[in-house]
């Protein structure tokens, strides 16, 4: 069975500080991977997707970047956080059409 793990579970960071969020998928070879952002009480917005190692496509940037250093790993980062980056970050993988989401990382920027 496939499992998706996100780290950290939650972060509290200062405006202007760097950020790195991670996602690992196990049990699925060469998955398509996605990053989403969700404001509190809001909908999900797709940020990035990757179909293979080293390739990342931006959907909505929001002053963030993403990388895929390994087949099973997807990283979301920024060098300078903004207040507007606060929210819930979700990683997802897709099989044959459906997307499956991880548990998410709650980010609070102060």
């Amino acid at each position: 069975a496939q499992t998706i793990h996100q780290w950290p579970v939650a972060e509290i960071k200062a405006v202007g500080s760097p950020l790195s969020l991670g996602c690992t998928i196990k049990g699925k070879s060469s998955p398509n991977l996605y990053w989403y952002w969700q404001a509190t009480g809001g909908t999900l917005q797709q940020l990035f997707y990757s179909i293979t190692v080293g390739q990342v496509e931006s959907v909505v940037q929001l002053n963030l970047s993403a990388s895929r250093p390994k087949d099973d790993q997807f990283i979301l980062s920024t060098e300078k956080l903004l207040l507007s980056h606060s929210g819930f970050y979700l990683c997802a993988w897709s099989g044959t059409g459906e997307q499956y989401f991880g548990p998410g990382t709650r980010l609070t920027v102060l």
């Binding site: 398509n32 996605y34 809001g42 909908t43 999900l44 917005q45 797709q46 997707y49 179909i51 959907v59 979700l90 997802a92 897709s94 059409g97 459906e98 997307q99 499956y100 989401f101 991880g102 548990p103 998410g104 709650r106």
Partner: protein
């Protein structure tokens, strides 16, 4: 431009009742229609999905209906339970990985 609309925004039903959520979209190229269920503090979970070649799919207490002509779909929950209390999102797409989520419907089922 709002591509995907969900209604109602929130809904309260009594335990044992029937819940009906609706979703409408504009892009006629959408051909895959998943519904996601999200509990507070958790990632969304795929609940049920339907392809545009079908007009109905059932899974236990959950049924989704699809109307291609009207570009609408609905999610019906029979015998609603307090454990069904969650936010429900539709996310119609063209099966290429680009999901467009609706704003969601917050469902509360009261015992």
């Amino acid at each position: 431009q709002q591509q995907v609309r969900q209604s109602p925004q929130s809904l309260t039903v009594w335990e044992g009742g029937t819940t009906v959520l609706t979703c409408s979209y504009e892009d006629s190229t959408f051909n895959y229609f998943p519904w996601y269920q999200q509990f507070p503090g958790e990632g969304p979970a795929l609940l049920i999905s339907i392809l545009s070649v079908s007009d109905k799919k059932e899974d236990g207490r959950f049924t989704t209906f699809f109307n291609k002509r009207e570009k609408k779909l609905s999610l019906h929950i029979i015998d609603s339970q307090p454990g069904d209390s969650a936010t429900y999102f539709c996310a119609p797409n063209t099966n290429t990985g680009k999901l467009t989520f609706g704003d969601g419907t917050v469902l509360t089922v009261k015992p």
